[in-house]
Amino acid sequence: MSASADDLQAAEWFAQARSAQRQPASEPAWLEWIEDDGHQRAYENCELAWELAAELRNTPRITALLAAADSLAAGRTASTFAARPKWRVPLRQIGLAASVVAVGAVAWLFLNRPATLEYATAVGEQHTVVLADGSSVLLNTDSLMRVEFSDHRRRIALLRGEALFSVSHDPSRPFEVRALQGVTTAVGTQFDVEITRAGAAVSVLEGTVTVGGAGIGTSAPAVAVAAGSGVGYSEDGGVSALRPAEVDRIQGWRTQRMVFNDIPLDTALTEYNRYTRTPIVLSDPALGSRHINGVFHIGDEAAFLSALDQGLHLKATRGDAQTVLQPQAGYHP
C-alpha cells in the first residue's frame, strides 16, 4: 500500500510540530491545511501512532530496540568525542608531566566542573527527569536525588525515597547510584533503588548492574545483579543474598498503581502510606496480619477504603491527621 499525499503531508506537519521551535511563519498554511476533513483524518493517524507508541515502552521487543538505539547513539557520541578539539591533547600531556599543582589544575579542566542538580518530589507526587545523557529517572513519592555528571562519570546520589533509572548506554561513563553506603553501577540498563526503613533495595529490570560499598569502611565485594534479580543492603554494609526483583511492585508504581498480591495488611498500609500525608492506621495492630489482594490506583483512597470495607470488613474513620481502620461493629471473623 503506498502512502497518499495526505499521509505524507500529515507526517511532515506532525514532525515539524514536534521540532519544538515556534513556527509562526507557517501558521496560515497549517490552519488552511488542517481545515480539510481528509487531512484531519490523516493527522489523527499520526497522533494515534505517536500516543500509542508510548504504551509499548516496556515490551521486550521495543526494550531491545531501544537498547540498540541507545548504544548506536552512544557509539556515535564516542567517536564524536574522539574527534574533539586538539587543544585537549597538549594539555593532557602537560598535565602528565607537570607538578602536582599543575595536575590539579588540569584535572579541574578535564572534569569540566560537574554541575550538581537536585530533584525532589513531594508526598504522593511522581516526576520523570530526563538527564543530560538521555537517561531518564522516574522519581517516586517523597524522594530526593542529586545528579552530578562529568565527562568521566555519571553520579547520582539518592538521598531519600525511590527512583527507577533507565540508563543510556555509555561504557566510557559508568552510571553510579549511591544510596546510603552502597553504590549501584551500570553502563546501560534499567533498575530501581529504594531507601527503606531497613536499608536500601535494588531491583534490576534490564541488563546487569554491580552493587558494592561506597564507604571507606565497607569492604564487601561488589555483587553482580542481573535482570530479574535484586539485592538489599543495610546501612552498616551488609548485603543480602540475591532475590527476585520486585517487578510487580515497580511496574505498579511507575504506572501509579499499587499491586498487593496476598500480602499482610500492615505491609500493604506501609506501602500505601508512602503516597499520602494522611496515613491509614489500624485500631488494633493484630489486624495487620490479615492478608490483602488487589490493584489500586495510587491516590484513589475511596476505592482502597471501599475494598477494605467490603473485603476485610474494616470501617474507616477519617481524622485530620490520619484515617483509622477498625472492625465493623457486629462483625467477628
Partner: protein, 201 residues
C-alpha cells in the same frame, strides 16, 4: 450526556462550547485570563470534531464525548500555553490521551477492587491486563511490528525522540546528523507508523 456522541457534527457552529457549561470537575476555579480562555475556545472549535473522532478509537463513544469536555476544562485551567496551533493541538491530544489512559486504569482498578475477593487465595493475574491498555492487542502488535520494520537510522531517531525525550538538535548531535535530516527521518517514521494505524481501523 449533553451531546449525542455518535453524531460528530461537521458544523463548527455546533461545536461551540458555552463558557459557563459546568464540567465534571468544574469545582476547581478556572483562570480568569480572558485571552487564554478565548484562545482555548478557538482551539477547541477548530479541533473538536477531530479530537472526538480520535478518542472514539480509544474509548466508547459516550466516554469520548465526556473526555472531550474534560480536556477542554483541563486546558482552560492549565494557564498559559504556546499559541502555535499545531503545537497547541499536540498538547490538547496528549492531554486527551492521558485522560483516556486514566479512564482505562480507573476502570481496571475499580474492577479489581470490586472483583478481587480479599482474603481469598485468588491471585490477581489481570493487573497488567488488556483493560488498562489504551488499545487492543492487535493494534499494539501492528504498531510494534511497524516500529521494528523501520530502517535503522529512522527507528533510532524515532525511539530516541519518543522514549528518551531527546530533541531534534540533541538527536542530531548524538547521531552526527543534521537537524534537518533528523526532522526528515521523524516524518518518515511517523508516516510509516500512521499507515499501520490506518490499517488498524
Amino acid at each position: 450526556m449533553k451531546h449525542d456522541p455518535t453524531q460528530v457534527s461537521a458544523n463548527p457552529a455546533e461545536a461551540l462550547f458555552p463558557l459557563d457549561m459546568g464540567g465534571a470537575d468544574s469545582a476547581e476555579p478556572i483562570p480568569a485570563d480572558p485571552s487564554h480562555r478565548a484562545y482555548v475556545t478557538t482551539l477547541f472549535n477548530r479541533h473538536r470534531i477531530s479530537l472526538q473522532r480520535y478518542l472514539m478509537r480509544l474509548v466508547s463513544p459516550e466516554d469520548a464525548a465526556e473526555l472531550v469536555q474534560e480536556s477542554y476544562y483541563r486546558l482552560l485551567r492549565h494557564g498559559e500555553m504556546v499559541r502555535v496551533d499545531a503545537m497547541a493541538r499536540s498538547f490538547l491530544f496528549q492531554t486527551a490521551t492521558n485522560l483516556a489512559r486514566d479512564h482505562h486504569r480507573r476502570r481496571a482498578s475499580h474492577r479489581a477492587s470490586l472483583h478481587v475477593p480479599l482474603e481469598d487465595e485468588e491471585i490477581v493475574q489481570d493487573h497488567l491486563g488488556p483493560d488498562e491498555q489504551l488499545a487492543g492487542e492487535q493494534v499494539r502488535a501492528l504498531l510494534e511490528r511497524a516500529i521494528a520494520a523501520l530502517p535503522q537510522d529512522t527507528r533510532t531517531v524515532f525511539l530516541l525522540h519518543r522514549f528518551r525525550d531527546l530533541t531534534y538538535p540533541q538527536i542530531a548531535e548524538v547521531m552526527s546528523l543534521s537537524a534537518r535530516t533528523v526532522a526528515r527521518k521523524m516524518a518518515e517514521a511517523i508516516e510509516r507508523l500512521s499507515a499501520a494505524m490506518s490499517e488498524a481501523t
